[in-house]
Structure formats: C-alpha cells, structure tokens
Amino acid sequence: MADEPLLQLTNVTVEAGGKALVRDVSFTLGRGEMIALIGPNGAGKTTLLRAILGMVRYRGKIAIGGRIGYVPQRLQYDRTLPMTVLEFMALTLQSSPVMFGIRRATRRRALELLEHVGATRLARSSLGGLSGGELQRVMLAGALHGAPELLLLDEPAAGVDIEGEATFLELIHRQVHERGATVVLVSHDLSVVSDITDRVICLNVDLKCEGKAKDLLTAERIAEVFGGHKAVYGHHHHH
C-alpha cells in the first residue's frame, strides 16, 4: 500500500468555451511527497487544482487515495461580516449552529488546529481584521481538519509579506515532516518553492517539464515554460 500513489492524473483535460485550460496532463504523486506546480498566470494551475477537488468538469482520470485539505488562493471574502476566527473554524467542526454556542469539543479541536499553525492567539480575533499571513494560517488550520493526506495549496504565499511567506512555507514543510502529508504547492514563483519541494511540475496548459527543482531550472527551460519572461522568474543563479 505504501507504494501506491496518493494522487494519479491520467490525460486530464479541462475545457471552457471550446478552449483548453489544461490539456492532457498526467503525473503521479507518491505519499509524503511535496511537489510544486509552477507556471505563469493563466497557465491552468488553479484549474487543475479545481479538477482534483472535483469542482470543474474534466476529461481523463484522477485517482486520489485519501482526504484532501485545500487552502484557496488569496481568499476574497466579506470582511465586514462579524465572525471570530473560532466561529469560522466551528462552521465546519460542529453541526449545531455557531450562534447557539460553540461546543467544548469544537473549541478544543479548533484551538488544536490553530496551534498546528501557530495561530492560537488569533482564536478570538475578528476574521475580517486578519492580515494576509494570518488569514493563510487560519485557512491552513481549517484545511488540516480531518487529517487530510493530501494538501492542495494555491499560491499560499500570495499577499503575504516576505517574512510571513518564509514562516508559512516552513509551516507547510513541517506538515510534511511531522504528519507525513503529501503536498501540492501552486506557485508562479520558482524561487519560493525550489528549496523546499522534492519535485517541480511546470504547467502552461500542457505539462512542460517535470523533475527535481535544481535540474529543471535552466534558463532555456524557464523561457520555454514562461514564454520568455525568464528575467522575472529566473532565480536559478542563486543555486
């Protein structure tokens, strides 16, 4: 069982309005692996995640061997809605309405999840008042409920300051090591992900390349994936 892949995509295609957003993508992800899915904006990265989550129609086959936790890209939400972080967590942790009170077991579980991401102190804060980095931690805490085997993180560092970005990625790294979670990290920024991931998959509608970050990061390859904008993304010379 241990060798069975956790996620297997076979010839996955997603179309919208006759145009392919993702075309014929196949890859396999083993348990405990951490991969980065990179590509320029509009390359179909988020669409591919949505296909894995079953939120969009696709052709091909997606086999998932476990529960999924998902952290969306830069959540747009109603910041004026009066809701504490604890209440937000409780929305999915208990079935009785949060306005009728938060159960003791819910509170314990929510604090436990927040502790995993170093955000216990945010429990009583207002959801609308969180900074980008704090919100991402809360979202990650929410995604960890149900002990998912597969974590899908869509640009988790977008909208987070550099320092927050580093600690957030460390947090994810810790999930992989301590919990044996398998992670797909979506990013448009190679430099962010190359250090912490095992493998990089480059996507620009089609699958462009796949392999170890350091082997892949040649100027030619980046130019191919990103269509010549290598100056923006080419951090490979640091290695």
Binding site: P72, L75, Y77, L81, L91, Q94, S95, V98, L127
Partner: protein
C-alpha cells in the same frame, strides 16, 4: 400607555395581534442575519413585490384562497431569479430590478381589474389591527420554519456567505443550499406580506441584522442582536402606534430604523471600525 399595553394581554383579539407580531418579528429576526450576510436583501424585496401579482392572479382565477397562488407565485419568481442568475451576465441587482418592476406592474394591472385600487394600501402596509387566528397559525408556522432553517443549516449558509469558492472546495453543494434558502425566503416573505404587509416584511428582514452587525464582532452577537432588535421594534412599534393612533406596520418599521440609527451612532464608541 400602560392601559394600551395591558389590553394586549387581557383582550383575546388583541393578544392574537400581539402574538402575530411576535411571530412575524421572530421569523424575520432569525433569518435577517442570513439574508444580510448572503447579500440577499434586495432579493427578498423582489420576491415580496411579486406576491401582489400572486394575490391578484389568485383572485382573477377564482382560486378559493389567494394565499395558495400568492405563495406559489412568490416561490416561482424566487426560483426564476435564481435560475436566471446562473445564465446571465447581468449583475444580480439589475436582474432583481427587472423582476421587481415586472412583477409589481403585472400585479397592479390585474389587481386593479379584479378589486379596484383600495386594497393596495393593506397590501403595502398590512392590516395589523385585523389580524386573526388564521394569520396567527400561518405566522407561527413561519417562525418554526425560520428557526428550523437556522437550526439545521446556518453553518452552511454562513460558510457560503464567507466565501462561495471555499464552501465549494470543502465539498458543500453550494447551489443546492442557495436554492433552499431562496425557496424558504419566498415562503416566509409571502406569508409575512399577507399578514403584516410588504413594507414591514422587507424592513424586518434587513434592518435587524444591519443594526446588530454595527454592534457585534461575532456571529452569535449578530444573531441574538438581530432577534432582539426585531422583537423590540415589533413590540415598541405596536404599543406606541396604538397609543399614538398610528398604523402599526409603519410604526414597527420606524422603530426598527430608529434602532438602526442608534446603532450607527454607537458604532464608533465601540471601536468597531471596518477593517480594510
């Protein structure tokens, strides 16, 4: 004033009115936080306006009680809006504006034919002083339905209100919940309009949560605040309008709006500035 209040507890027909108002306010106060958080304020307004066409149609067709056609029409209009929303690129408020204008015009046209203009007043403002046992039964059922909705599905509605994509990604059948909310709102609004008038139903679905949002930082605060505002406005409006010889429905609405204005003034004192 004391006499006015005491009468509501000693005269059976007045007790019926009091209970009707309490149930109407309870169902609206309970649903108001969901309506406001889901940004459906304008939607309930459009559905409420469609009830006139439902009543008129019922009278035109000679259906025994227009309540049936009224509720059916409201739910149909609600579903129609919800479905059109999926297939149009128009903004929701535009779509609702068209639906509201259309169903109101259609309703007034038929209404005029079958009954003349005189009853439009009671349609708009209700006739609280004429509320009877039948209304009480309908309004009590409304309150039970509203409480059931919140008791069973509030967390789901709130998750969708925070973020539709997030709710979707967490495996919630979002569209199904949206339709459910729409149908229940259609029912509650239709029953409410018949008893207490269009103005009151609309106001009580929006103003209570708008008021409590100003003063609370949590869902619990917003919810209980909304119920408290609705009930306070209902009772204060009823008693004061009786005492001062006003119509009850606009009196209740005015009381609710005054509470809203007070909350708006108190807001800065509580340090609740909106986070940008």
């Amino acid at each position: 004033m004391i006499d006015v209040v005491i009468n509501y507890f000693t005269q059976p027909w007045q007790t019926t009115i009091l209970l009707c108002v309490v149930f109407a306010c309870l169902s609206s106060g309970v649903l108001s936080p969901i309506v406001v958080s889901s940004r459906m304020a304008f939607f309930s307004d459009a559905v409420a306006h469609s009830t006139l066409a439902g009543v008129a149609l019922g009278m035109l067709l000679g259906v025994g009680s227009p309540v049936t056609t009224m509720i059916a029409f409201a739910v149909i209009v609600a579903l129609l809006i919800a479905t059109l929303r999926q297939y149009t690129t128009l903004a929701l408020d535009t779509l609702l504006g068209v639906a509201m204008a259309g169903s109101l015009a259609f309703g007034v046209l038929i209404y005029e034919k079958v009954r003349g203009y005189s009853d439009l007043h009671s349609y708009l403002f209700g006739s609280v002083s004429l509320l009877g046992t039948e209304d009480l039964v309908f309004l009590a059922a409304n309150a039970v339905l509203a409480l059931l909705m919140v008791g069973l599905f509030a967390n789901k509605f709130l998750l969708v209100a925070v973020s539709r994509p997030l709710a979707q990604a967490r495996g919630l059948p979002v569209a199904r919940y949206e339709y459910l909310l729409i149908v229940v709102l259609g029912l509650v609004v239709a029953v409410g309009v018949r008893a207490v008038g269009l103005l009151l139903v609309n106001a009580l679905l929006i103003v209570p949560a708008a008021t409590s949002r100003n003063l609370s930082r949590s869902v619990a605060g917003m919810f209980w605040g909304s119920v408290a505002v609705a009930l306070t406005a209902g009772l204060a409006g009823l008693f004061l309008s009786d005492w001062l010889d006003f119509a009850a429905s606009p009196g209740i609405v005015a009381a609710a709006v005054i509470l809203f204005l007070v909350s708006q003034l108190l807001r800065p004192l509580l340090g609740h500035h909106v986070a940008e």
